[in-house]
C-alpha cells in the first residue's frame, strides 16, 4: 500500500497487525517516533494524522491509507526548524529526550487546533504524554513560547 508521509508517497508492505509506528520505524526508517508502551498510554509515538495528534502505536497502518502522516522528521523544512521545535530548543527542555518527538508532535497538534491555548488547555492536551525525566513544566513553558512566536 501507499502511505503519505511528510508530503511524500511511500510504498510499504502491510500485514494485518502492523501498526503505523512499526511501519514508520521498521519499514521507512523514520525512527524519530518512539516506542514507549504500545498501549497508547505514553505518547512517545505521537504523529499527526490529517493534522490531528494520534498514537501511532495504536493505529493500524491500514487505517492511515489516504491520509497525511506527519512525523517529527517532517517538521523541519529546508533546514529551518518548526516554531515549536525552536521553542523547545530555546527553553532547553529535555534531559534524556526520548519523549521529545512525541511531546513536540502533540504540541504541534494542539497549536494547530488552538493557536493560543491557556495553561489548562496545554496540560489537558499533553496529559497523555509521559516524561519520566519530569520536564513537564518546561514543556508547558516551551508551548507557551511557541504560541507567542
Amino acid at each position: 500500500m501507499e502511505l503519505q508521509v511528510n508530503g511524500v508517497s511511500r510504498s510499504i508492505k502491510t500485514l494485518e497487525d502492523t501498526s503505523l509506528l512499526q511501519a514508520l520505524r521498521e519499514e521507512l526508517d523514520l525512527t524519530g517516533s518512539k516506542y514507549g508502551c504500545g498501549e497508547g498510554q505514553c505518547g512517545a509515538c505521537t504523529v499527526l494524522l490529517n493534522g490531528v495528534a494520534v498514537r501511532s502505536c495504536r493505529i493500524p497502518v491500514k487505517s492511515a491509507e489516504n491520509k497525511q502522516v506527519i512525523t517529527i522528521e517532517g517538521l523541519e523544512q529546508n533546514g529551518k526548524l518548526h516554531p515549536v521545535q525552536e521553542a523547545f530548543l530555546k527553553v532547553d527542555v529535555f534531559q534524556c529526550g526520548y519523549c521529545a518527538p512525541g511531546m513536540i508532535m502533540s504540541a504541534v497538534g494542539l497549536l494547530q487546533q488552538n493557536a493560543n491555548p491557556t495553561e489548562e488547555q496545554i496540560i489537558g492536551a499533553m496529559n497523555g504524554n509521559i516524561c519520566r525525566c519530569g520536564t513537564y513544566p518546561r514543556i508547558v513553558r516551551a508551548i507557551q513560547e511557541a504560541a507567542k512566536a
Binding site: G32, K34, Y35, G36, Q41, C96, R132, T135, R138
Partner: protein
Amino acid sequence: MNHDTAAPQPQRSETDPQDQFKQSRRNFLKLLGGGIAVSFVLQDAFAFLPDAEEVTSPLVVNPEQVGGWLHIGKDNVVTVYTGKVEVGQNIRTSLAQVVAEELRVSVHSINMVMGDTDLVPYDAGTFGSRSTPVMGPQLRRAAATARGMLLELAAQEWKVEKSTLRLADGHVLNTASNKRLSYGQLAKGTKLLQAVANDAALTPTEQWTIAGTSVPKVNGRDIITGRHTYVSDMKLPGMLHAKILRPPAFGATLASVELAAARAVPGVVVVHEGNFVGVAAPDRAAANKALAAIKPAWHTTSQPSRSEIFDFLKKNASTPRSGGRGSSKKGSLETGMAAAAKTLRSTYHIDYIAHAPMEPRAAVAQWENDKLTLWTGTQRPFGVQDDLAKEFKIDKSQVRVIMPDTGSAYGGKHSGEAALEAARLAKAAQKSVKLTWTREEEFTWAYFRPAGVIEVKSGVKVDGTLTAWEFHNYNSGPSGIETPYEVPHQQIQYHPVDSPLKQGSYRGLASTANIFAIESQMDDLASLVNMDPLAFRLKNLQEPRLRAVFEAAAKAFGWAKTKPGKNRGYGIGGGTEKGGFTATCAEVAINPKTGDVKVLRLTTAFECGAIINPEHLDNQILGAIVQGLGGALFEAVDFKDGKILNPLFGQYRVARFKDMPAMEIVQLNRKDLPSAGAGEAPIVGVAPAIRNAIAAAAGVRLKTLPLVPKGLQVAKS
C-alpha cells in the same frame, strides 16, 4: 554504586581494574595519532612518543582516580574520552563545559566520546552522583595540563617566556608580537603525551565564564528533530529482530519445550539453552510469529506476594553484623529513652517501585569472527563488557560495548540483560541482532527499588531536644540511614534481606525511604511537643548546609508567614545525600468528601557546591521532584506469586502533566565548595514534605510509601 546500593545488586562480576586500565590505555594510544594528549598515568612524564605501542610504562593506578583522557588534534578539535555515559542528566554538556573553561575554547569545539569500551578508559559506571564531583575535577586537571603543554609549545616556537603568552578562543597569543597560533597549529606534527599534573592550576570558580553558565544541551538539536539514534533506533545491514520467551513467573524453570513450529517459520533462528529460549527473525512480525509458535511447559514455585511482603521482610532479615554497612551506635539508648519526656515508636512500610525509563532496555549485537560489538543503554558499559566476556568465555578485549546517549535510567540500567540476550542470538544466527524489550518486559524483568520496613523509636524532651533515636531498616538499604540531627543516644541498623523481587539501585537509593521515615518521625515528634516542625528541626540540627536549605525553602515558601486554608496543610522535609543538601516545603489540599489529595505547591531549596550549569541543575532538581512526587503519592509495584500484576503504563501510575503542582526551585550556589552531583539528592525531601502536609491538613499521620494511591481513606470515611 556497589558500596551504597540498597540490597543485592543485579548480578555483577568482579573485574581487574588494573587490566582494564592497561587495555583501555593501549586502545587510546593506538587511536591517538598526532597531536597533544593528556592521559592519566601516575608517572611524571613529558614523553615523546615515537611509537605509541612502545609506551609500556608500569602503571600503578587507582581506578577511582582514573576516568578520562583528552586529545587535541591538528584540526583544533578537542576530544574528551570518558567512561561516563549520558542518560539525560546532561553530563555530556557539563563535562564539556569544564574542559572548555580550562582550555579557553568554545564548548562546541569539544567532542565528547563517552561509554565506548574500546575508546575510553575503564570506568566503574555512571551512578551515585559521581560524574560531577569526581570526573569533573579529573577532566579539569587534564585540560589544565593540556593548557600548560600548549603554552610550552608556543614558548618554544616563538622562543619567548611563557608569561608573555595568553590563551583565548582556541589560540595562544603572543602579547609582545601580537602573533597567534591555533591549538591545532601547535599540535600539528607533534606526538605528545603527558600525565595529568595533579598540581595543574585550575581556573578559580569566581573566574568561570563557560562553566557556571547555562550552556544549552550540546546535542539538543538532534533531540528535538528526532535525529538522535538511540539503541532502539539502530539498524545494521541484514540485522535480525529478536524476541525472548518469558517465564510465567519469577524463578520458573522450563520443564519441556516444543520448538519445531517456531523453527519452521522462514528465516527464524531459535536458541534454546537451559531456561533461555529466544528467536531471531528478519522482521518483527516473523519473530512474533515464531515466539507464539513455541509451546513451553514451566515449573513454578510459590512465592511471596505484595500482601505479605512486609511480614516477609521482617521474618527473613539477616542478623546484622555490628559495625557493618548502615550500622552505627552512640551513647546508650536506655539512658536516652529515660531522659525523654515523650517517646514515639513508628513503623514505616515502603513498596517496591519501578524506574520505568521511557526507553525500555535495548541492545544490538554483532559478531565478527570472535569479536563481539554490542550497543546497549547501560550505566555500566565496562560491567556489561565483563558480563559478556564471562558469558561467552572470551577475553574482554574481544568485547566492545558502546553506549549511545540513552533514553534515561534513574539507577535502573546498571545491568545488561538485553545485551546478553541479543548477543546469544547473534552468535547462533551469525548475523547482527537487535532486541528491544517491550514495556511489559521492562516492568517485569528489569529490577526494582527495594521495598522496606523501617522501625523507629525516638525520645524527646519537653523543650524539643532529641534524646534517643533507634532506627532499623529492613531491606531497603543503608543510603541516607544516618540521622542528620544531633541525638546523644542512638543506634542505627540496616538489616539486609534476600528480596523476593529483583532489586537494585534507584535515584537516591534507599535515602528516598530512610529520609521519608526520618522526616516523618521528626514531624510527629514536633507535634508531640507542640513545636513548629521547622523550628523543631533547626533546634536539633547543626549541619550548616542543611540548615541553610531548610531556611531557604521555608523563606521562599512563606513558612510561618502564611497559614494554609481549610482542608489544606503545609509540610516540610529535607536531608542530605551524595553531597547535596535539599529541603522541600509542600502545600496540599484534601477533598474531605472524596479523599482526593492534590499537591498544590512544592518549593525546594538545593545546594550542591559550585553550580556548573544553572539551567541544567534546575532541570535535574525538577526531574527529581517530579519523580519523587510519583513515588510519594501513588507508585507501587503490585505482585503475586512471582508475577507482576501492573506491568503497563495503564496500570502503573506515574506522574503526569495534570499531577504537577506549582513548583519553585531555589538554588544555593556555593562557589567556595566543590561541585557535587545533583541527579539524586533533590528527590529525598519530596515524599516527607507531602506526607507532613497531609498530616497538617487532615491530622492523619501516614506511614507508607506510596502515601495515597487511592486517596486518603480516613478522609473519605
